[in-house]
């Protein structure tokens, strides 16, 4: 009889394993389909109690079908997702073939695999939380499985009564209570051991050397984009999904964030406009790499940018996505990544190598304020030829007391002109999340400025850039995020998909760009700052936990390890050697890595074989010593070993000597039963008597003869055993 607690443990383990994988993948539809089927299948198998739910042919056909489908899919690409989804289907099919604990063992194995697949897919808090719940459940289920396997194994047996009063039915329903102690002990022990291994494992060794087995997720970042297409009828995302966590500190380490402080995180510089689409210019920038995880990557000095007069340290965690710009408030001076990407591309913003999988963290030093350039900027040509736009812009700056003509107007007044346009847009246009679809070849900016007069941040920014450029002010659109949601508990900002934003930078001198945001501030605050509702507070609490998870678990890196272990461990000792080897392997590529693995296996095998050899040698030496330098008693036993052998041989023939009968008397007694055997036994007994009582130790010939007789007695045809 299978206990209910055990059945429940199998149900929950399988359920949670599927759930954690579907969360990590993320495959919500699959979860919606599979989880109810799993529960129903489990219930049916529980009711069936050891019988097949479906005919064997159906189960086998389903399995063959699932495997065939997986093979077909794998022909295109083998990855974790394909295998994990195959495992989920096998798990469901297995429920139809669940007849005993052995089948449950397979279900548990598949649950373990799904957990590992989930870890490969995602490091999110929800995944981690489910795995934390799954761990003790899995441990308990495996322990109960071991018990059930024994209880319901082959062979007739009865389990003893725990009270010792006699055999009786055991309290199967109390199994959970009986194993909770070991489950708790094992969970604690495993977690402690895992924490130790987690901390001491060196990071940054061999990363990405075997390629990426998991499928890269695409489209995870929404809201932010480096291509702005106006007039396509899109709706701006209001998704509260966190995209990144952002923390900002000054040189003294004081947190510069606060509930009232808002920061613009630059992600893309869109300076090229064509037919309603803003894109980055074709300049690909400069690639830097390969990078060393231990050292920060210098950015500004190599790019010839301005020197900082005040720097801050920003720490950002990207929650999702991949090939990502390095969001920064100001121009970065140096960046330190974890994990380290192969390379970064430096242009107006930084872009990490596509091989780095999110989430990852980076810290950067950036210039808060830059000195005014010694050289004023050059006069840029008018780049927007729209008369309507130029007319409006001219009107705006003229109303502000600035000459719109770029030929007459000094460059130093460009920023004033830009500010006038910004203020005009803020006060005369309305903010809306939706945008009308542009038809009939109309320009999207003109439609916004002169017809609809409402739109979202991209329209405001694009219109301001257009108006600035139409009167000769060099401006560009910036896409990124607004960090406005400050979490008091952890002192960081949570940036969500809905915080994606577009604003403007105008050039006040050569490469001296100032930020303008034409979006109405009230709308910006309404849209980007959470209302103090209960839900938002709960969300903030969750954000604190998530930030802690990302900081201490997901973002745990070599520097954290060093800090925890006290100083840089690579400086000396075995870890230093390991780090050097790791660095060599990392720089040597796949071949060197494989050679290192093969060498490791050979060395391990050699050490293991040496260990076994030493143990065998020690045993041999012990035996030899016992033989050569044994005590008198041992030597006596050795000399008379033949007599116990004789008694054993006689016993096997049913002529056992009672302990109280003297040897010769026994020989005489058995003479009446088996004369030939008695004769042989007499000869051995005589040798024994001579040695034992006559003071004549048996020589080699005597011992050999005795052994020969014993062998003969054994080999003589044994009286036919009964039957």
């Amino acid at each position: 009889m299978i206990s209910r607690g055990y059945n429940l443990a199998i149900l929950l383990t399988g359920f949670l394993a599927i759930s954690v994988y579907c969360t990590a993948a993320p495959l919500p539809l699959l979860a919606l389909l599979v989880l109810p089927v799993y529960v129903v299948g489990w219930w049916l198998s529980f009711r069936a109690s050891g019988r097949l739910l479906f005919p064997r042919i159906v189960v086998n056909s389903l399995l063959a079908g699932a495997i065939g489908y997986a093979v077909l899919v794998s022909l295109r690409a083998v990855n974790v997702e394909v295998i994990a989804q195959l495992v989920i289907f096998m798990l469901l099919i297995k429920l139809g073939d669940r007849r005993g604990p052995r089948d449950d063992g397979q279900i548990l194995s598949m649950a373990v695999f799904l957990s590992i697949a989930a870890m490969l897919d995602s490091n999110e808090l929800w995944v981690g939380a489910q795995l934390i719940v799954l761990l003790p459940l899995l441990i308990g289920a495996v322990m109960l499985f071991q018990i059930e396997l024994g209880r319901n194994g082959d062979g007739p047996w009865r389990e003893p009564d725990p009270t010792g009063a006699g055999a009786s039915a055991s309290p199967v329903h109390r199994l959970w209570r009986r194993v909770w102690g070991p489950v708790l002990t094992a969970t604690t022990g495993i977690v402690v051991a895992a924490g130790f291994v987690f901390v001491i494992m060196p990071r940054g060794v061999g990363g990405g050397i075997l390629g990426d087995m998991a499928t890269k997720r695409t489209g995870a970042i929404s809201g932010f984009t480096n291509v702005v297409k106006l007039g396509t009828g899109r709706v701006i995302s209001t998704s509260p999904l966190p995209v990144l966590d952002f923390e900002i500190r000054d040189e003294a380490g004081i947190n510069m964030g606060g509930p009232s402080a808002v920061y613009y995180l630059r992600g893309a510089v869109l300076d090229s406009y064509s037919r309603g689409t803003w894109t980055e210019s074709q300049d690909g920038g400069r690639a830097v790499g390969p990078l060393d995880s231990a050292e920060p990557v210098p950015i500004a000095s190599s790019s010839g940018g301005p020197k900082a007069i005040q720097t801050v340290t920003m720490k950002l965690q990207l929650g999702r996505g991949e090939r990502s710009p390095i969001f920064s408030v100001w121009k970065p001076l140096s960046v330190r990544f974890s994990p380290t990407p192969r390379a970064v591309r430096i242009r107006d913003v930084l872009t990490v190598d596509a091989r780095v999988r999110a989430p990852f963290t980076y810290e950067m030093d950036a210039a808060v304020a830059e000195p005014l350039p010694l050289m004023m900027g050059r006069r840029t040509p008018v780049s927007f030829e729209s008369d309507h736009i130029r007319g409006l812009a001219s009107q705006i700056v003229r109303d502000a007391g600035i000459d719109p003509d770029p030929v007459v107007r000094p460059v130093s007044e460009d920023l004033h002109a830009a500010r006038a346009i910004q203020d005009y847009l803020r006060t005369n246009y309305a903010y809306a999340l939706t945008e009308p679809e542009i038809t009939g070849g109309n320009d999207a900016i003109e439609q916004f400025l002169f017809r609809t007069r409402q739109g979202h941040c991209e329209y405001f920014a694009a219109s301001m850039v257009a108006m600035c450029r139409s009167i000769g002010v060099n401006a560009r659109m910036i896409a990124g995020f607004v960090a406005a949601e400050f979490v008091e508990g952890s002192g960081h900002y949570v940036v969500r998909q809905s915080n994606a934003h577009a604003w403007v930078e105008a050039e006040g001198g050569r490469d001296w760009w100032r930020t303008f945001d034409p979006t109405p501030p009230a709308d910006l605050a309404r849209f980007h700052r959470p209302l103090p509702t209960l839900l938002s507070r709960m969300r903030q609490m969750f954000d604190v936990v998530e930030y802690a998870w990302n900081s201490s678990v997901v973002g745990f890196d070599e520097r954290d390890r060093d800090a925890l272990l006290g100083g840089r461990s690579e400086s000396s000792g075995p870890l230093a050697a390991l780090s050097q080897i790791a660095a060599r392997i990392q720089s040597g590529g796949t071949r060197l890595f494989l050679v290192a693995v093969a060498t490791g296996i050979v060395v391990f095998s050699a050490v293991a074989l040496s260990g076994f050899g030493i143990v065998a040698l020690a045993r041999g030496l012990r035996r030899l010593r016992a033989r050569l330098f044994s005590s008198d008693a041992a030597r006596f036993d050795r000399d008379f070993a033949f007599y116990p052998q004789l008694l054993d041989a006689l016993k096997r023939r049913g002529l056992a000597k009672p302990s109280w009968v003297p040897p010769l008397a026994h020989v005489e007694a058995i003479a009446g039963i088996d004369e030939p055997i008695a004769r042989l036994a007499r000869e051995v007994t005589d040798i024994y008597y001579r040695a034992r009582f006559g003071g004549l130790p048996p020589n080699a010939a005597d011992r050999a003869r005795a052994r020969e007789i014993v062998r003969e007695i054994r080999q003589r045809r044994t009286p036919n055993p009964p039957v």
Partner: protein, 415 residues
């Protein structure tokens, strides 16, 4: 019947098996995955896997080290009847309970139990810290004789099934497996004993019969009617008469293995099973049963009682038929046999002139006709036709080797 060493010694071992190897391989894969992806959750998973290995070793090792196993008796052993072997499992560890313990008899040393039945196995869910429990294994002996046990192994794969940890204890034991306990058809015993002289030659004891047994001194509580007044007057002390107990009917069972031809093993066993059944049935009917096996020096005068029956069954259990068949004396204790009814069971051909006059002659070959018809009877009698267990195992192994060889040859030919 049983002999055991007073102080069992233990031997501890770890056996690595497939799930453990698989676990290590998966752990290595996780390690490679963690290094390759630099995924901290995978580093955590690697830590959990390594932690699992350590905890598994510590939990099971410490749980097992405190265990002591000893025998705790056994039931009566007869061919075809479930035999219960009991083990006392004691946990001397005062902190850690032991879970999921398997107990096996080990086929090593002086043991020969494998010739009698398949491996004895039992399971104990839990032995709490500082307590003990008794486990029972049930086996069905397939032949009679003396089954010897030597070592008992307790093992577990708890908690995670990664390795099999075992402790082996010396616990020698000998069990006499009696011939099968099959019921005779009703009325057979009565038919045999119908002509037996009542109460002749039996050993008499004091009882409540009608015949005089002896005189003895009066003790308080004796019936005054039984006082022998004349003798009392003569001796000056009160003397009472004792009556003899009624003498039981006497029945001799003779098994005749000798004859003109040697019967097969199965027939010999049927003869012994028949003799055992007659002995059991007669004893149950308070008939004094004697046993004589010419050539085996087995002559037991008829007596009543369970102890005597056990002695007879024990002799039948260890009867060496081959030796009995050896040329030699097949003489019967004729004089003794005349004092009661006699049933002669012939393992070979039936010689009705054999034994005292008036004896009943049963051919062992027709043993099935004397037993009550039942599936149990058929099953046990079928055991005799299957031959000794060891030979069957050998035959099965040979067959397996044959198929393996043939498969290899085919593969070789295919290659």
């Amino acid at each position: 019947m049983a002999g055991r060493s007073p102080q069992p010694s233990a031997h501890r071992r770890y056996h690595f098996h497939f799930p453990g190897v698989l676990y290590v391989l998966v752990t290595l894969l996780v390690a490679v995955g963690a290094i390759n992806s630099q995924n901290n959750l995978l580093f955590g998973a690697l830590g959990l896997a390594i932690g699992g290995l350590l905890v598994s070793g510590v939990l099971s090792g410490s749980g097992l080290l405190g265990l002591r196993v000893d025998r705790a008796g056994h039931g009566t052993a007869a061919v075809g009847k479930p035999l219960v072997l009991r083990y006392k499992v004691r946990n001397t560890n005062s902190l850690i309970s032991a879970f999921a313990m398997h107990l096996d008899e080990v086929r090593r040393g002086a043991s020969n139990w494998h010739r009698f039945f398949p491996a004895a196995h039992t399971f104990v869910t839990e032995v709490r810290a500082g307590s003990d429990t008794v486990a029972e294994a049930r086996v069905i002996p397939e032949r009679r004789g003396v089954a010897r046990f030597d070592l008992v192994q307790i093992w577990t794969k708890f908690p995670f099934g990664l390795a099999r940890k075992s402790m082996t204890f010396a616990a020698p034991l000998e069990i006499i497996v009696q011939p099968p306990d099959l019921p005779l058809r009703a009325g057979l015993i009565h038919r045999i004993t119908a002509r037996a002289p009542y109460g002749v030659g039996g050993e008499r004891t004091a009882g409540l019969g009608e015949e005089f047994f002896a005189l003895r001194e009066y003790v308080a509580g004796d019936n005054p009617k039984l006082i022998a007044w004349k003798r009392s007057a003569r001796t000056g002390t009160l003397i009472v008469r004792q009556q003899a107990s009624p003498a039981p009917t006497r029945l001799w069972i003779v098994i005749r293995f000798g004859g003109t031809d040697a019967a097969g093993t199965a027939v010999d066993e049927r003869a012994i099973a028949l003799a055992a059944a007659v002995a059991r049935e007669a004893t149950a009917q308070q008939i004094a049963v004697g046993l004589a096996v010419p050539g085996a020096d087995v002559v037991h005068s008829p007596r009543v009682g369970r102890v005597h029956l056990e002695m007879l069954l024990g002799d039948l259990a260890i009867l060496d038929v081959e030796r009995v068949r050896a040329p030699g004396s097949q003489r019967l204790p004729e004089t003794a046999l005349r004092t009661g009814a006699c049933v002669i069971i012939h393992a070979g051909h039936v010689d009705e002139t054999y034994g005292p006059r008036g004896s009943t002659h049963w051919p062992a070959e027709d043993a099935a006709a004397y037993f009550q018809a039942s599936s149990e009877t058929d099953r046990v009698l079928a055991l005799f036709d299957r031959g000794p267990r060891r030979e069957r195992v050998e035959r099965s192994r040979s067959l397996r080797r044959f198929w393996v060889r043939r498969r290899r040859l085919r593969l070789g030919a295919g290659a």
